[in-house]
Structure formats: structure tokens, C-alpha cells
Amino acid sequence: MRCAIVGSGNIGTDLMFKLLRSDSLQLGAVVGIDPGSEGLRRASDLGVATTADGVDWLLDRAAEFDLVYEATSAHVHRENAPRYEEAGLKAVDLTPAKVGPAVVPSVNQLQHLDAPNVNLITCGGQATTPIVAAVAAVTPVPYAEIVSTVASRSAGPGTRQNIDEFTITTGSSLVDVGGAGRGKAIIVLNPAEPPILMRNTVFCALTKEADRQQIEESIGSMVEEVSSYVPGYRLKNPPIFDETPVDTPHGRYEGRVISLLEVEGAGDFLPAYAGNLDIMTAAAVRVGEAIASVEVPA
């Protein structure tokens, strides 16, 4: 399947390195808007076609492509999305624009293979929704909460100026994709040097009847599944069960399971501490390959 990357920043460049290794996805172009962009230079050095003329260039050649990866920003994608669809291009959206349904490769991507546009939520959503889904697969989860901590250096201006989009989009994915009754997401930036690896903590509220062993096994196999496409994704500790009941304004939770995760990046382009960016680009490739597996190339 022939694809293009729109956006030549950090995410677009890291994604390029991963796509160049894919068997079923052929990277045809990297599209930017700044002729001086480092990302375009790197793409061109690797023999990938590039343009600084933006999406108009791509739409003029829409027949040469099947799939476009959006690695710009939410407001740019909201403008581009209808144009891609009109041109018959499928879109995988790495911004929090949420034009199409939210997908997480290890949880629900097969449900949305036909969608013209799919959204990859946020890095925190990719890292934590699978754990919520793993717990919800074996027992009701009345409430799920996640804390994502990323190195300050790995949070670009887009994330910083739109931090509410992260918390809101991620929180709703815990419900929509993860299957929790309610969801809340928290993001923390940590400036320590050397930069910390991305950390995610997932709290799932449990009922009295929940089978602890089943939960632990389900989390374990989900971690294995995610690490098949994000090799640096791991549990720092076995899941921790806290049986202290907690009263909240939304009622009593009888206990909780806590999963402490760490995500080390593959270091394709971005440094290993930027596991938050790696998990997005790795998920993007996985989703693209799933789409390619069911589509007959035009």
C-alpha cells in the first residue's frame, strides 16, 4: 500500500524510519511546508520524494497514493481530513483531532478497518488504554484513571499549548476504547536530566467479586501483545492489588489494581527517552499494515 506522511517534524521523521522497514507499506513521499525543514532533508537523503508545498502537492497526485499519515497538528488535520476523503485517501491521524474513531492496535483496530479516517488518540492513550481493556475483558471496571509522565524535552509546543486536548481525549478513550465506566487522564511533564523514560500508571477500580488472578493474567498477555510492536513497553512491577475500599463523590470502589508501566523508545530517530513518541509511530505503522492487509491496492 502506497502511503505519504504529512508533517516533517519529529513524529513524521520517526515514522518515516519505521515505514521504510515495513513490508506492506511503501512510503512514497514526505510532505512539509518549510523548504528548510530538517525532516525533509533527511527524507530526501534517504531517497524519499519530498515537497515543501504542503497538502496541495499531495492532492494533485492523490491517484498515486492510498494512505496518508497526518503528523501535523489537530487544527491542521481538521482542515485536511475532508480533502483527503474527497480525494479517496485513507487517513491515519496522529494528532488529537479525533475526526475518525479512536483506534489502539492491540484493542480495537479490526473494528475500524473500513473507516476513511482513524485517530490514534494520544501517546498516553496508546500506552494505557490496552491495560484498561485487558482488565475490562475479565471484570467490570467502573472507573479507570491514568497518569502519564513524559520527559519535558519530549513534549513539543503542540502538546504544551493544547494540554487540555491530551487530558480530555485520553480520558474519553479509557471509556470508549478501554471499556471503563468512567475515565480520567492526568499528564505530568518532568524536566529531569538525563530525561526520564515515559511512565504510565493505570488505576482500575474493581468490584469485590473481581478475580485477581484472571486480571493479572489478562494484563500480562496484553503487555506481551503491545510489546510485539512497541519493544520497549513493559511493566515495572507485577500488577499491584490494593483492597482498601475508597469512597468517592461517584460512589464506593471496593479495591483497585495498579499497573506501573515504562515505555522506552526504539531510538529510530528520537532518543530512547521519547517512548511517548515511539508508541505513536509504532501504532501508526501497525494500523497501516492492518489496513493494507485487507485492501487490494488500486
Binding site: E145, V147, T149, S152, P157, R160, Q161, N162, I163, D164, F166, T167, I168, K184, I186, I187, V188, L189, N190, P191, A192, R199, T201, F203, A205, K236, N237, I240, D242, V246, D247, T248, P249, R256, I258, L260
Partner: protein, 338 residues
């Protein structure tokens, strides 16, 4: 005209000390007492700001919006303030509290991350609220770096930027240089929020006033995270003895502290070993009670948890790392004993 404006945070920072279990009746009584004493600004929120009610920080007994309704009802002259940490609370929360009648929005970030406050400071200004930028754990960076971050908040429209000693780790000189530098270089107001882990909260606040600080935070009895905050009634009494005008009646402030707040936490003001360690290791004060719980759950030492968190340069909001560290210490202890 007073020499500085006091913001009482008993009903926000103090919320940590009672695990976020304030009731509407307690809020009414505390607001009425402080307001009658002449306290000009009263802050009410979950200890970790709007939206803080969670597994990670502790669930509120009563929704903070309900508590704010009680506060609005009970106040007559005082302005009401809220705290919001971007990444935890969202803009929608600001709309909600503005509709309730809150006057001041205080937007808090880690001292190096001021640029995540832009959306929230601008919205609060647009809604017509007075807006404060709150640079947490200000001891962790050099004064000139802090000034750079303060300037960002000022550029978004903050009416005041606070030096926030969240770990109670600042000594007198650390306060003097930071507040002094900000006063010299900002055209907006400058504030100090002190903690008492090294027993310096009142002294640090008075040093800040000496450097020209416009706003100072206190809590009745010092009720707050870690070993507590700057006790409002002591700061008021000491200010008066030094000829510094606060506009607050010291006797009424003492009465509210003693009769309304003290019964909630009778030992407030005692700086025990764990409280002292926060200031000594420079660890975020609200970690204290979570660390004590984790120490009991995992059968490890609170001080070991706090010192490890300090070594890892964990920042405010990373309460989940307390569990991480406790579990790791327990594993190491098990390994050592086999």
C-alpha cells in the same frame, strides 16, 4: 492600604492534611471566620487543584464545586480563589467556577513548565477573573531561570506570579534572591507561597515582604501539605509587631484558627521526622501522607521512600511514583534478606 495581600489557602492546601474530606459545613464556618477577620482572599479547591479528586491524589469527600457553593454563600467581603494545574484540571473547570462567582484563578505549573499555563491563564483573563501564575517547587532551579518562566506567565496575562516553595526547602537567602529578582524585573505583582518543613515559613514570608512581595499565602494553623504552610494567624501577629499592615484582625484570625480549624487536625504545627525530610530532601509536600500509606502497605520506611523520590527528581503530580518506589524498595528488601 496594606503592605501585602494575604491569600488564605486553608481550604485548598489544607485539604491535603485532611485527605480532601472537607464538608460544606466546615467550609462555611472557616470562610465566615476568615472573612470576618478581614482576610482578603480565600482559596477553595481540592489540594491538587480543580479536578484533583482521583486515585492518584485522593478522592474528595465532597465535590469541590459543592464546597465552592458553600464558600460563595458564606463570604461577604473576601474574594474567592481556586487553584488549577494544567494536566489535571481543564478549561471547562474554569468556566464552571467563574459561573459560581469565583474571583481569582491561580494556575500552577512545575517551575520549568510555565508554557503549559498559556491556555488557562488566557481563558481566566478572558472570563474577567484576576489571574495568578504559580511556579511550583521554585527551589529546584536558579533564580534567573525562574525569572524566565515568570516572564512567560506575565506575558500570558498573569496579574501576579508566585514563587512557590512546595517542598518547604527554601532558606532565607533562596527566597530573598528569587522574590527580589522577580520584583525587579516583572511589572506584574509577585507573591510567595511558603511551607514550614524547615520551620522557616513565617520568616521566609517576612523576607519576601521585605523584598517587596505583593501577595503572601497562609493557612489557618498552617494546615497544609507536608509539615504545613505559613500559619495565617502567626504571620498576621508577627506582621503587626513589625509594623507591617495586613488589614487582618489578629485576634479574630487566632480565634478561627484555634476554634474552627485546630479541632480538624490537633497536631498541626508539629514538624515530625517525615515532615522535616521533605524540606531537607526537597520533595513535594503533598507526597507525605501518600508516602506514609505506601510505607505501611509495602512494609518499608517512609523516609527511604521520600529520599528516593528526591534522588529521582520527581515533580509535583507524580504521586504514582510513591507506589513505584515503595514496591521497588520492598523487592530490594526481600532480595537482601534471602
Amino acid at each position: 492600604m496594606t503592605d501585602y495581600r494575604l491569600t488564605d489557602s486553608t481550604l485548598r492546601d489544607g485539604s491535603h492534611a485532611i485527605r480532601h474530606q472537607f464538608t460544606p459545613d466546615q467550609v462555611s464556618a472557616i470562610v465566615a471566620g476568615l472573612d470576618d477577620a478581614g482576610v482578603p482572599v480565600i482559596e477553595v479547591s481540592h489540594g491538587d487543584g480543580l479536578g484533583g479528586s482521583s486515585f492518584n491524589y485522593g478522592f474528595s469527600g465532597t465535590s469541590e464545586f459543592e464546597l465552592l457553593e458553600a464558600a460563595v454563600e458564606a463570604r461577604s467581603d473576601a474574594l474567592l480563589a481556586v487553584l488549577l494545574l494544567p494536566g489535571i484540571g481543564v478549561r471547562h473547570d474554569l468556566h464552571r467556577v467563574n459561573d459560581l462567582g469565583v474571583d481569582v484563578a491561580r494556575i500552577a505549573t512545575h517551575c520549568t513548565e510555565a508554557d503549559i499555563s498559556e491556555q488557562h491563564i488566557k481563558l481566566a483573563k478572558k472570563l474577567g477573573m484576576e489571574t495568578v501564575g504559580f511556579l511550583m517547587l521554585s527551589h529546584m532551579i536558579e533564580p534567573d531561570q525562574l525569572l524566565g518562566q515568570a516572564k512567560l506567565m506575565e506575558s500570558y496575562g498573569a496579574d501576579c506570579v508566585y514563587v512557590v516553595d512546595s517542598a518547604g526547602a527554601m532558606t532565607l537567602d533562596a527566597v530573598r534572591t528569587r522574590v527580589g529578582l522577580l520584583k525587579e524585573n516583572l511589572s506584574c505583582q509577585v507573591g510567595l507561597h511558603a511551607h514550614n518543613n524547615l520551620a522557616l515559613a513565617v520568616a521566609n514570608s517576612l523576607v519576601a515582604v521585605d523584598e517587596g512581595a505583593d501577595q503572601i499565602d497562609g493557612c489557618a494553623t498552617g494546615l497544609g501539605a507536608g509539615a504545613g504552610n505559613c500559619p495565617t494567624e502567626i504571620l498576621v501577629a508577627a506582621s503587626e509587631r513589625m509594623g507591617i499592615s495586613t488589614g487582618i484582625d489578629p485576634f479574630k484570625a487566632m480565634d478561627t484558627a484555634e476554634e474552627v480549624v485546630r479541632p480538624l487536625a490537633p497536631h498541626q504545627g508539629v514538624i515530625d521526622r517525615d515532615g522535616l525530610i521533605l524540606g531537607y530532601a526537597g520533595v513535594y509536600g503533598s507526597f507525605l501522607l501518600h508516602a506514609k500509606k505506601a510505607a505501611a502497605d509495602f512494609d518499608v520506611d517512609t523516609r527511604d521512600i521520600l529520599m528516593t523520590l528526591g534522588d529521582r527528581k520527581v515533580v509535583g503530580g507524580q504521586e504514582d511514583m510513591i507506589i513505584d518506589v515503595a514496591a521497588e524498595l520492598q523487592r530490594h528488601a526481600a532480595k537482601d534478606s534471602t
